[in-house]
Symmetry: C2
Subunit: 270 residues, 2 copies
């Protein structure tokens, strides 16, 4: 079985795409045409996936929107991952859950994300330290994508405090790259809204793959992201856009609108 990073690398080779589409089916934003279906989130996701699958290197469902929908949301999430894996094999799925807990509890989170939901990778919060995340880190076939510098306006409150002369986020990135990555399965989150930090991160971890949220709705510049963020082989980035693509059009032709928006975004990443 291929690891997450092997799947991603094959996908880069096949599509030349750095684009990840965020599957964030916010109940309050779903187009009217899907609301009446048995599971609106699942109906919506399937249409978005069918319309964009050839344009993406990965999909990234955001756990919160499924949790908000309760049992139907859980069903939508599980079935969405299954749909991607069965209909479009080779496209890796990242569960955006930003989990972190102590060991025995992280064990249950890892089982839920990787074995029950079937995700190929997960986003993780570093604050508790390496031992807390071991149940994720030791799964070498899965991607462990650690929050380093996030895309929100207030990210610097703790991420930019000075630790022995460099910002906290750099210390976190160094630690993940040199200590946590013993299985070669670690990636980092670097928000597109901080291009200067993204450029510095590329120097600190030349070959690490970065998940980059924040282009589109959050205001990050796609072209700048690619220019400063890509690795020497021209890849090394998973550039995510969620609502800028999936909610580009709220009519009954929402999937066509999403495809057009994905194509536009892809061009801006060239």
């Amino acid at each position: 079985m291929k690891t997450f990073l092997q799947l991603l690398s094959d996908r880069y080779a096949a599509t030349k795409s750095l684009l990840c589409v965020g599957l964030d089916p916010d109940l309050s934003l779903l187009p009217e045409v899907v609301i009446a279906t048995a599971n609106p989130q699942l109906t919506f996701n399937k249409a978005i996936i069918d319309a964009t699958h050839d344009l993406v290197c990965a999909y990234k469902p955001q756990s919160a929107f499924y949790e908000e929908a309760g049992e139907a949301g859980h069903e939508a999430l599980v079935q969405t991952v299954k749909y991607i894996h069965e209909k479009y094999p080779g496209i890796p799925v990242i569960l955006d859950a930003k989990r972190a807990d102590i060991g025995s509890t992280s064990e249950s989170y890892a089982t839920a994300a990787f074995d029950k939901i079937g995700a190929d990778a997960i986003t993780l919060n570093p604050y508790l330290g390496q031992d807390a995340l071991e149940p994720f880190l030791r799964r070498e076939e899965k991607g462990c994508i650690v929050l380093v510098h996030t895309s929100n306006p207030g990210a610097d409150e703790f991420q930019n405090v000075s630790v022995d002369g460099r910002p906290m986020w750099q210390f976190v990135l160094e630690t993940v790259a040199t200590k946590w990555n013993t299985k070669g399965n670690c990636l980092a989150v670097m928000g597109a809204t901080y291009p200067e930090q993204l450029a510095q991160a590329r120097t600190i971890a030349p070959e690490m793959v970065f998940l980059v949220p924040g282009i589109g709705a959050q205001g990050g510049d796609a072209q700048a992201t690619v220019t400063v963020g890509r690795s020497a082989d021209g890849f090394g980035l998973i550039v995510n856009s969620s609502r800028g693509i999936i909610f580009a059009d709220s009519s009954k032709d929402f999937a066509l609108g999403a495809r057009a928006a994905a194509q536009e975004t892809l061009k801006s990443l060239a």
Copy 2:
């Protein structure tokens, strides 16, 4: 409607108990007698709650164990919170979920935890900063329990780095106490396995309520926790024990065993 901290204060006054029982129905540890029931986690929780309700200041379900059980787990979690609120009104419920995401996503997490699941308080991870957690912090009737110093052996990897001459966790605690707590609804997690840090935290935030995990199975000393951690009024602590109580006895009399273990723990907190 009472706020979380008012509920807790009334509960302290009525019971003199600092004990919180963690409702962590790990599927691999449930007693045989509940396995055959329609929803084993819910059956188990109801029995534990009926056996311990007069001894506790709060209950704390850990989200991971319900997520691992999929849709049945979600149902168990929702029904457990409802059961406590309806049968034993006045006992606050803390959802241990350690959530944190950017604003729009945190919005969905807050709705899920507070409005769909019905929790009175939630644990939160500080790494993303205040703006990311605003959807939780602005809910003044709910408790926002921020991770400051966790109970795991490797907690110090990032929590103890030096920030302007004091450890990161102290900077986080100061920030939560002086900046984030504008609605008076913030609490902090301080692991029982670090009693020296707990004593320092009490000096930094004399009146803040601390959620203290780590006694029992994790090795934290209950008596030391109370001695150094309580506030001037003798309360100010929510001391959690999960598996040390709920899995004390795996026979068909598991609930009686849990009650005995809760009584023992309560004595050690006197």
